[in-house]
Assembly symmetry: C2
Homo-oligomer: 357 residues x 2
Amino acid sequence: MFCLKLNIKTMKQTLYILSLLLFFGCKTEKKASEIIKQNEFAIIIHGGAGTILKKNLTPEKEAAYKAKLEEAIRIGHTILKNGGTSGDAVVKTIQVMEESPLFNAGKGAVFTNDETNELDASFMDGKTLNAGAVAGVKDIKSPIEAARTVMTDSEHVMLSGKGASIFAKEKGLEIVDPSYFYTERRFKSLQRIKDKEKTELDHDEDKKVAFYDADIKNAKFGTVGCVALDKNGNISAGTSTGGMTNKRWGRIGDSPIIGSGTYANNLTCGVSSTGWGEYFIRAQVAYDISAQMEYQHKSLKEATKDVIQNKLTKLGGTGGVVALDKNGNMSFEFNTAGMYRASMNDKGTLIVKIYKD
Amino acid sequence: MFCLKLNIKTMKQTLYILSLLLFFGCKTEKKASEIIKQNEFAIIIHGGAGTILKKNLTPEKEAAYKAKLEEAIRIGHTILKNGGTSGDAVVKTIQVMEESPLFNAGKGAVFTNDETNELDASFMDGKTLNAGAVAGVKDIKSPIEAARTVMTDSEHVMLSGKGASIFAKEKGLEIVDPSYFYTERRFKSLQRIKDKEKTELDHDEDKKVAFYDADIKNAKFGTVGCVALDKNGNISAGTSTGGMTNKRWGRIGDSPIIGSGTYANNLTCGVSSTGWGEYFIRAQVAYDISAQMEYQHKSLKEATKDVIQNKLTKLGGTGGVVALDKNGNMSFEFNTAGMYRASMNDKGTLIVKIYKD
């Protein structure tokens, strides 16, 4: 029993302090229930993050990026508006970006050290927590479609290399000649980086050369991704990439890794990442945002901010995420100079941005 | 200001209720500081989980498994006792299991549908949160050593296929002829499962056939793993596997996935998983245990129990983990009939078990 002898003044003070402690100490516990439904449906995308500065982009190129982001997001938005699934919206939206040479995914993917294109993608369904991914594929036209098909048409989550192509073929997905992914711009990037390697090998910096050149950095970070919430409250997320210019040794980044590049859970949020993949794996970026919302009852904004600006940044990682929660709140968060990005809510309000606000 | 007019009795009651609320409402917040250091150093291992029943194991086989588990863990324990690093303890311990045909890792790995052995492994350093992994390698003698070398000697986290082998060769790791991994027992398992596929294809169950046969199930779950805490308070974790019998399409399971098969963080814990990999990826098993400890202030036991018995089980996944926290507490947790496992603390107390308690 509680049986301290207190005079009224002391008791009042204690009561006051206890009330304050209770209010502030357990404050985060209450947040989840306070959140109001923002959007019945919503969609958010990125086309990569990096050292994207206004001075480095011509007005024409800036306009081209913005137009393609808008074209892509409107495809998904229309699907959602018409009552379609978030899964369809994510795949169809990403396919627009995969087919554009502007982004480092599908056509326009960067080149490996072997002068090939090796593509990675992943997809997750927030309702069932089922997921699919492909890694290191060279001839599947739409890696994001392949990732979703791994989820729907196999018992597996992740397929890789030639085996993934055989699977895709068996399931009737479009296979293309590897030359389909060739773009002159990306091929020149590879040559430039290889030249740099040659001249800088004596400076013991060969390991870091991929991250010197701003343009190469951008290329490296050019991953595309999409997260959508549909009218049934289902969240889906997807990510597709060509990986890192000059990559070798069959390197796999975060894009095909569930929990790092992509995560979706109807109870919390959906996330797609873009950035220096190794750090996104080590920091468990995509799932960590969901975990902070579930376990610490943080808002989407608080969770994305902590994971990118605090945890990832402390580790030395650079990049960003687009994320969306079950109430249709949306968040762009990045620690780079810019991120190609767009969002659209249920009222049709469109945001398309490249640089920091 | 707090200025409600209350009589003493009401005030006393309110004070009592508030105290209770404060105590129970915020109880979990306090747990972390209450934990006492259990062991200065410690090591815990698994050799796979599955439908391992006493009736299916001969006394000779049971003794062989126990002897090999003991041999392996004593290697790591000696390293830790002599002031060595947890990283060395993890790699050397796992290598004993990789070299034994008893386990589905290294020699003794299961066969793919193509009658090859494709090995996966991952390693994480809890001090730096750095990590390394290899996926789908066919000729690296020690995949766990390769995984750690990806961490220490490259800027990458995950390398795959032939590229990973080229990397391993460049770094001077031992390359073997793929026939090194051949064992008659595993080859027969593959033939048996292929025969089953043929006879059962008409029953529309072909997708699930890999999970019918108890012996095949065990083989599938025969992944090995180790987590260690050294005298400097550093946690390391590693996992190595041959994957799933009859796997095709370049399937990658959870073992090489940081956050699913392996995770380590000096602030929380280290984890190595074994089980039906796809579910371990979807449930983010290894990192989720760390996240629950960090964000919900759960004990290691509470976190491993929730992730395996609640979250993973609800999703339909089977398997288990071995885990160890920064205070040297250790936990075996699995939802299968058995798990080959062992632990050793700083007093040299050895536990070796196979079945449920």
